[in-house]
């Protein structure tokens, strides 16, 4: 059985992309292929325009350009302190100002440097672990960022702060690919990739993808409440498709 079935896909520099699909649909597998962490059984993956001899030999200067956040933060932890954990990649890639970088990326992830730098990453709370994992990816300032369920386990306020920050980050010609189970989060993407049983069903703008409410529901996804409601209203009369509550309400206001 293949976790990901044959597919072709090209991601442009600077894209902001959501990867969604039911449990076991192949998201993590595809993300790891994209990151060059695993190699395909068949076919090829090109990074920055060419095939490298990954996974072992993806050269260090290519690896440092791609940041990858694992679905389980513990999978990337090994150090005894949060500081060493976050500093590792920066040191490994020979970057300067390691201390400043660690401090900045911890604060960006929502953790106080002084409070957390000497803690063991393994005794942190679930959300704190996710934040440290994020910080250890961010510390190298990668131009391609691949995040496997980055917002899982974050509290509401942290989630909001994280998305605001990520949007800004992506504006500077960085490529961001994130996996999520929340189509409300995927709404913000430029392109949404929908996987089902290892097959790529859609790779299009949220407006286009979310118009297929029936298909999405059939493959285990849940469109945002505003989309579902406007979809029901459209069955009865002409009504615009809404992706957000704001869009839905302003359509209703135009109609009152």
């Amino acid at each position: 059985m293949d976790a990901v079935k044959p597919l072709s896909l090209r991601i442009a520099k600077g894209e902001w992309l959501a990867l969604v699909g039911h449990t076991g649909s192949g998201k993590s597998s595809l993300a790891q292929l994209m990151a060059g962490l695993t190699s395909p059984t068949r076919g090829t993956v090109k990074h920055f325009g060419r095939v490298w001899n990954y996974p072992k030999d993806l050269p260090i200067e290519v690896r440092r350009r791609i940041g990858f956040l694992f679905q389980f933060p513990e999978h990337q932890f090994f150090a005894e302190t949060v500081f060493d954990e976050v500093a590792f990649a920066a040191k490994n890639f020979g970057l300067d100002n390691v201390q400043d970088r660690v401090k900045e990326s911890l604060e960006v992830a929502g953790l106080s440097f002084d409070q957390f730098k000497d803690r063991s990453p393994f005794t942190l709370s679930g959300g704190e672990k996710r934040k440290v994992a994020l910080a250890s990816v961010m510390v190298c300032d990668p131009e391609v960022l691949i995040l496997d369920e980055p917002s899982a386990g974050l509290d509401g306020a942290s989630k909001r702060a994280f998305w605001d920050w990520l949007r800004d980050y992506s504006k500077e010609e960085r490529t961001v690919i994130f996996i999520t189970h929340s189509l409300e989060e995927a709404v913000t993407a430029e392109r949404v990739l929908v996987l089902s049983n290892g097959t790529l069903l859609f790779a299009d703008s949220p407006r286009e993808v979310f118009s297929h409410v029936n298909t999405l529901t059939r493959v285990g996804l849940e469109p945002p409440i505003a989309t579902e409601i406007s979809y029901e209203l459209r069955k009865r009369a002409s009504f615009p498709m809404a992706l957000t509550v704001e869009e839905l309400v302003s359509a209703l206001d135009g109609d009152l």
Binding site: G220, E228, A237, D255
Partner: protein
Amino acid sequence: MIEVQDVSYGLEGRSILQSVSMNICPGQFTVLMGGNGAGKTTLAKIIKGLLVPTSGKVLMDGTEMAAAGRDYQIKVGIVFQNPENQIVASVVEEDVAFGPENLGLKPNEIRERVESSLKTVGLWDLRHRPVHALSGGQKQRLAIAGILALRPSYILFDEATALLDPVGRKEVLETATILAKSVGVLWITHDLREALQADMLYALCQGRVVFQGSVQEFITNPEAMDLANATIPEEVTLAEMLSKRGAHVDWPLNKENLLKAITSLNLKTFH
């Protein structure tokens, strides 16, 4: 009933829980919210008996946990935030059988429990699959099946749906809701949507209980919401906007009730 009485917990000179009191009743769905690091998992571990409080006590039906010993332990199941901390065997069905085997149950009984638990979480077809070949969400379902097979009287779900897709989330939440008709459920979450059906909601902030009451009271209490780092679900935002426009919205706040409220507005399109 489980009663947490004035429980405090400290580590390395740091206070993690402070004078926490809470009840978990059989037949009730109790929700625990709070920001990252607020102390939710620590509290769940204390209730399960995995950590000993610095002060205060935990009672079950009037008997102190320490005095009840193993009888207490067996009655309380916990589904951990990270399913990998809970999976012990290398094949799906063996993992679920592990707990019942430890309870010393008969092979027939074990088989029956393994089958019904795996079916409840939708993993029956994957029962022979090696655990390392499961996706994140499949592991989470496996962890839940392992606890169901123990048939505890109380189940503590620590962010048990965080890695599931919407359908899986609904299924697990429904399973927990059905369980909560007889057992006592403590449901830890960051997602208020999963709390909409709670009998009682507690919120922690920096180790203290900062709110205790109904969900409706909680979402109309901006200060408590803020302290718990909670955000309003889109359903609630929409319901509020519809109310402002004169619609009456029934609870629970689902698609059906929101649609009903919208069609009750005098929309031109639908005339």
